[in-house]
């Protein structure tokens, strides 16, 4: 078993970033839920292809189609997920409908308006679809549908092609969602760093100098990794009657997990005196960092003659503080899975020889999820 102070120091730092990145990920999930980001980005993505200026907004028609409408939670909400099969069926129906001829006329005695509907009963379903497609003005979306329906003989084949296209497109949409989420996570990380005042240099100094704190952090990190890597107890997934867990049970687990996260963060910050938070004193503001970087009298920098003071504030100290915060923001925004993997590897290295497991928690930003 390795027992190197450098390794313990690194584990402590990584563990702190893991805790805060978990917290930032929970905030991101909250933002996603409140802003209905998954539903919105799905609609935006479909609008991008299907809002056809030369014709109609087929995304709007698709969303109002009974198949898709049924997946709305309430009339005002947008579905956050549309199954590929439903998409294909509804789109074929929407385009076929374009070929329907409607004529509304007055009754002979002018008493009421009557409707004559030509349901296009003649022809196979694929012919009816093509008939509808023919009514569209040339456009990118029309071209897309023409190319997808070009060499198919029936609507089953067309459905398969539409499903393949939709799944491929959704993979790209997931990518856009992740990129957007990364930007939001960066902002949330900055908020977390500012709220908890997570200064990387200050943390480093404390973990390096304080053996007791470092050992406690390492113990906590090892416990966390071992708990995460422990095989799931199959009975946990059964309720008291031995049935499969319900969605309510799953919700309770989710709430418990989130509570455990906040609890663990609280334990580490308060009980173990994690060196974060806004306990700013004049002394702390003039952070006594590693002697190498210190600006105090007799320090390395002082000896070099770097004494920058503006309005009585040591500018070098401020720069170091800001740099420490910035490093923390960048680190936390790397995401919980990254830090968990790193922590797992380091803890296994410390335990020497144990094969690392990649039990990284799923990122909370994949599309579609619900």
């Amino acid at each position: 078993m390795f027992d190197l102070p450098v390794l313990d120091f690194t584990i402590s730092i990584v563990f702190v970033f893991f805790l805060f990145s978990l917290f930032a990920a929970a905030l991101l999930e909250l933002v996603n839920t409140v802003r209905k980001r998954r539903a919105r980005i799905l609609r935006d993505a479909l609008d991008k292809v299907m809002n056809d200026p030369q014709n109609l907004n087929y995304a709007e028609l698709l969303y109002n189609h009974p198949i898709i409408e049924a997946s709305r939670k309430n009339p005002e909400s947008l579905p956050s997920y549309i199954a590929a099969e439903n998409f294909a069926t509804a789109l074929i129906a929407v385009i076929t409908d374009q070929g329907r001829k409607v004529k509304i006329t007055m009754n002979a005695d002018n008493s009421a308006q009557e409707v004559e509907r030509n349901i296009i009963s003649s022809g196979t379903p694929i012919a009816q679809f093509r008939n509808g497609l023919d009514t569209l003005e040339p456009s990118n979306f029309q071209q897309l549908l023409v190319s997808l329906s070009q060499f198919v003989n029936n609507t089953d084949q067309l459905e398969k092609k539409l499903i393949t296209w939709y799944n491929g497109y959704m993979d790209r949409v997931s990518g856009w969602f992740k990129v957007q989420s990364q930007k939001i996570l960066m902002v949330l990380s900055a908020i977390v760093v500012l709220i908890f005042y997570v200064d990387f240099f200050h943390l480093a100094r404390e973990f390096w100098d304080n053996d007791k704190l470092r050992n406690e952090m390492v113990r906590s990190a090892v416990e966390t990794v071992e708990k995460a890597n422990r095989p799931q107890d199959p009975t946990e997934w059964k309720n008291l009657r031995g049935n499969e867990v319900t969605s309510l049970d799953s919700l309770k687990r989710d709430i418990n997990d989130r509570y455990a996260l906040v609890d663990s963060l609280y334990d580490n910050i308060v009980d173990r005196s994690l060196p974060v938070g806004w306990h700013v004193t004049k002394e702390k503001w003039k952070w006594k960092g590693a002697k190498l970087w210190s600006w105090g009298k007799g320090s390395f920098l002082h000896e070099l003659g770097i004494k920058i003071k503006v309005l009585g504030i040591n500018l070098w100290g401020v720069i170091l503080n800001l740099a420490g915060l910035l490093i923390s923001v960048l680190a936390i925004s790397r995401g919980a899975p990254f830090w968990f993997d790193t922590l797992n590897k380091l803890v296994n290295l410390r335990n020497s020889g144990k094969k690392p497991k990649t039990a990284a928690p799923e990122p909370a930003n994949q599309l579609p999820q619900n």
Binding site: V34, R35, K36, D47, N51, P53, N55, L56, N57, E60, L61, N64, N74, P75, E76, S77, V102, K103, I104, T105, M106, N110, S111, A112, Q113, V115
Partner: protein, 378 residues
């Protein structure tokens, strides 16, 4: 007997171009949770004084309904009587405010689907904007919707950036006059307007229906005029004199009767304001058009205007006036009026103020005669 509301809208915020209310604002307001929170907050923060703000939030709540059918259902539910509604579509694709999530073609398609579902109660008008296409293309659009899809009239909204005497509208007027198809045009100094950053040649130095250059009006060139002032050049009731001089039998409703503010100013109930562009009083101009015997088919409606209770005496006096009586239509301008009061209250307050006979005249006989055409009999 049907009650007719000659002026309603059912488009949703999705039909409004993205830059109309500021980028992203519509989307945020459209989130039901935020909308409901806004309403609750306003009622809590400003109890008793939150009337306007809470009505504004209500307006946005209705406009944010998931589709036009939901808005229409809200409208129908506001009436106990058997009512038929003139539903005015609106082409906002050319108002210089960017793209809408639901473009005009989709709005029309959705209204057509609603027409098929609510055949008797929904009487749609097709909106025409001369910038959409050539005169022939506009005529084809109107003919298709009127002759095949059961739309009963044509809607113009000049404030979005065009003159009613635009040469591209000539064939539409010719067709409308020949077939007695009713036109409805927005005509007040209020309402939505052209948002473009620049003005076209036709907007500053317009040509008439025959394509002849009109005498140049220096006011239009005034650089200090903002869009909200400039739009009055588009909506000026006198613009219709040019149209009517060519098509005197055109059945056209110059909506809103000039607007309640203009009526108040005309009768000295409100201080007269110096006109930035000197166009005069729209109520006075509209009334002169109604009284002009050369144009027997000019109408107006009291939509939106009826939200101002203090002008009820003047409105009712005009309805009783034999020169005007047959040419004033009942309409509410739902759901724009939600900012003032809810539809049920709006109608009930007006009905309490007017004789049943007079109300029947404007909400039945007048609207029926206005709507009747070669293709539709009310």
């Amino acid at each position: 007997m049907y009650l007719y509301n000659a002026h309603t809208h059912i488009f949703t915020t999705k039909c409004i171009p993205e830059n109309f209310l500021g980028k992203g604002l519509i989307r945020i307001i459209s989130i039901p949770l935020i909308n409901k929170l806004m309403l609750k907050l306003l009622r809590q923060i400003l109890p008793g004084q939150s009337d306007f703000l809470s009505k504004y939030a209500n307006f946005l709540a209705i406009g944010s309904n998931k589709n036009q059918e939901a808005v229409f259902r809200d409208l129908v539910d506001s009436y106990d009587d058997t009512c038929r509604f003139v539903v005015l579509t609106l082409d906002m694709d050319h108002m210089g405010a960017g793209r809408a999530e639901v473009n005009y073609n989709t709005q029309l398609y959705e209204v057509l689907q609603l027409k098929l579902k609510y055949m008797q109660s929904l009487l749609p008008f097709v909106s025409v904007d001369p910038r959409r296409g050539t005169a022939q293309e506009l005529l084809a659009l109107v003919k298709k919707y009127v002759e095949e899809y059961g739309f009963v009239g044509i809607k113009l909204y000049p404030a979005l950036g065009f003159y009613p005497f635009d040469p591209n509208l000539d064939l539409v007027y010719q067709y409308a006059e020949a077939n007695e198809i009713p036109l409805m045009t927005h005509c007040t100094k209020a309402g939505v307007y052209y948002k473009g950053k620049t003005f076209s040649e036709q907007q500053i130095w317009p040509k008439d229906l025959d394509g002849k250059q009109l005498p140049q009006n220096d006011h239009r060139k005034s650089s200090h005029l903002k869009n909200r002032h400039f739009k009055n050049f588009f909506t000026d009731p006198d613009n219709y004199r040019q149209v009517l001089s060519k098509y005197p039998k055109l059945k056209i409703c110059i909506a809103h009767y000039g607007g309640s503010t203009e009526i108040e100013r005309f009768y000295g109930k409100r201080k007269k304001k110096d006109e930035v562009n000197g166009l005069g009083n729209f109520y006075e101009k509209t009334r002169k058009l109604l009284e002009d015997k050369k144009f027997p088919n000019v109408r107006t409606d009291i939509s939106y205007t009826l939200a101002a209770n203090k002008i009820f005496p003047e409105l009712i006096a005009d309805i009783k006036n034999s020169d005007l009586r047959d040419n004033i239509l009942f309409g509410t301008d739902y759901f724009m009026t939600i900012i003032e009061k809810n539809e049920r209250k709006l109608v009930s307050e007006f009905r309490q103020a007017i004789d049943a006979k007079d109300f029947s005249q404007i909400a039945n006989a007048n609207v029926k005669s206005y709507l009747n055409s070669s293709f539709f009999t009310a």
